[in-house]
């Protein structure tokens, strides 16, 4: 049984079809959803997280249809989204930010999460006082604190410097090695692709490529359209 199954999901806003009949399955791998601005990547992620509901099609998570579930129920079921624009609880400390979710799905080791995400040294700091790079890490840590079965990461390295992004990608690679399953929406392809197994490319809401990372590299149309040059994917 697939962990996640998306069957012909569509979502329109007025006359604009933001996501158009997208289908895919996911089991144990790490998936990247890529595409140009307006391709429907974040809309698709919001559909998975329950923040939007599909007009057509259905979403199945761990064998249950979750298409109409509210976000809290989907997250409690094990599929948790982090935000592109960080949303920390600014009046709470880093530790409290994690503690909020720490008992939802059984016990978690917050110390380990804080170490893993490089937040141990600022655990007692109010989140509102942290610089952006730490807030991006906190966003990831909040997701991990829920002990997710599947983590939906919306542009986890967006806005970070190259060195900050490299550090966060190292963390994601470690998480992957430990068995954390992820769907990553990201613009910075050359940096994100090395840690994913499969890629879905969206364009104007439609799937134009779905395959392994290696196939993605070999697909000349995709490379030309989204990477701009033949070696951009690194």
């Amino acid at each position: 049984m697939s962990l996640l199954e998306v069957r012909g999901v569509s979502r329109s806003f007025g006359g604009n079809r933001a996501v158009d009949a997208v289908s895919f399955e996911m089991s144990v791998d790490t998936l990247a959803i890529v595409g140009p601005n307006g391709a429907g990547k974040t809309t698709l992620l919001n559909l998975l997280a329950g923040q939007l509901h599909p007009n057509q099609g259905s979403i199945w998570f761990r064998g249950q249809e979750v298409s109409r579930w509210p976000p809290w129920k989907i997250a409690r079921g094990g599929m948790v989204k982090t935000y592109q624009i960080v949303r920390p609880f600014r009046s709470l400390t880093v530790e409290e930010n994690l503690g909020l979710f720490a008992r939802l799905r059984g016990s978690v080791n917050l110390d380990e999460i804080l170490l893993e995400t490089g937040l141990a040294e600022v655990r007692h700091h109010p989140a509102g006082a942290l610089p952006f790079g730490f807030l991006k890490r906190l966003e990831l840590a909040k997701g991990l604190a829920t002990r997710p079965d599947l983590l939906l990461l919306d542009e986890p390295i967006g806005g970070l410097s190259r060195s900050e992004a490299a550090a966060l990608l190292g963390t994601l690679a470690n998480l992957k090695a430990k068995g954390v399953r992820m769907i990553i929406v990201e613009h910075r392809l050359s940096e994100i692709l090395p840690i994913v197994d499969r890629v879905i490319t969206l364009d104007r809401g439609r799937t134009i490529f779905h395959g392994s990372r290696d196939d993605f590299y070999r697909d000349s149309a995709v490379r030309t359209a989204y990477l701009g040059s033949s070696d951009a994917a690194g």
């Binding site: 809290w72 709470l92 530790e95 110390d111 655990r123 700091h125 909040k142 991990l144 068995g179 954390v180």
Partner: protein, 333 residues
């Protein structure tokens, strides 16, 4: 699966600060102030000073309820005076029909407040922001209007319920009862604020969607907080009714909205302890100013509030709190 969160490691308790608040200087100061004022008033238990402290204590109870619900969640509730009035009316009703046992009247007021709180909170807290605030203002107004319209049919005495039993033998004794109640409430609310429940309420204030998107259904938390606040407001209303020995429509008045909010603003929203300290300052100042300059007291108070909100948005103790937190926070990243 699940990497760093998996495994048999024990639940992390580091984030849990239950009990820490009881060691904070602000909590200890608030308890000390309650005790000192209760003790001071015993020297002249029927004086204007003692009466003013009784009034301050009643407003502090109401302010604690408002801060616990609205201050922690960020949901501005204009409906609390309704439950205050309801508590006074409940005490008035039962004493009018022969039951003049003070503990019973207080418990009855709490019960009616809790019940009314559930009825009010369940539908209204599905709304957010200004929509909730507007409804919290309108529903009590409609309820009061209903009572006024059907006053005769409801067989209520023309002037409201009067001749309620005294809360205590003297203002000094009443102050002791109110002080104990406020100390208990303060302690409970501080414990709850530091608990996971309080953490969720504070998370709702910061970003409710983010709380919800990571697995917490926020609505029950809000309903519980506002129901508890309504019960406390009912208790507060009953004490007021038994201090003035009367329960009329003025119990639903906006005085019982404005002063608690003013106290919370002065004390710092969501800080809980600030409501106690600010409650004495605001009410004693108002009482003595009202004696000296009756006509301009409200004007001065309004102006002072505007100045306060502009320059000290986290209350008069805000800078001190920030300083203490700064000193306690380790070196920055």
């Amino acid at each position: 699966m699940t990497g760093p969160s998996a495994g048999a490691s024990p639940p992390a308790r580091g984030w849990s600060k239950i009990g820490r608040g009881l060691l904070s200087p602000f909590y200890l100061a608030a308890i000390a102030v309650i005790l000192v004022f209760a003790w001071l008033a015993q020297g002249s238990p029927t004086s204007f000073f003692a009466l003013s402290l009784v009034l301050a204590s009643i407003y502090i109870t109401l302010a604690l309820a408002w801060d616990f619900s609205s201050g922690l969640t960020g949901y501005v509730n204009f409906g609390l005076p309704f439950f205050f009035g309801l508590g006074a009316f409940t005490a008035g009703y039962f004493s009018w029909y022969g039951n003049r046992d003070v503990p019973f009247l207080l418990l009855a007021a709490i019960g009616v407040g809790l019940f009314g709180g559930v009825l009010f909170s369940v539908p209204t807290l599905r709304l957010r922001g200004p929509y909730f605030s507007l409804l919290s203002l309108l529903l009590p107004l409609i309820a009061v209007d209903f009572v006024v319209t059907f006053w005769t049919q409801l067989k209520m005495p023309t002037l409201g319920y009067y001749d309620l039993p005294f809360l205590g033998n003297s203002p000094g004794a009443e102050l002791v009862i109110l002080s104990v109640a406020n100390a208990v409430l303060l302690t409970v609310f501080i414990l709850v604020k530091d608990s996971h429940f309080g953490l969720v309420l504070r998370g709702i204030r910061d970003d409710e969607d983010a709380v919800s998107s990571q697995g917490i259904r926020t609505w029950p938390y809000k309903v519980i907080a506002f129901t508890v606040a309504s019960g406390v407001a009912g208790f507060s209303g009953a004490t007021y009714g038994m201090v003035v020995t009367y329960a009329g429509l003025d119990g639903f008045g906006f005085t019982f909205l404005i002063f608690p909010i003013l106290i919370v603003v002065v004390g710092g929203m969501g800080e809980i302890t600030g409501s106690v300290l600010a409650g004495y300052v605001v009410i004693l100042l108002y009482q003595y100013m009202f004696q000296a300059f009756t006509e301009i007291t409200l004007v001065v108070f309004t102006a002072a509030t505007i100045v306060l909100v502009l320059f000290l948005p986290r209350g008069i103790l805000g800078p001190l709190r920030s300083f203490i937190r700064f000193m306690r926070t380790p070196e920055g990243p």
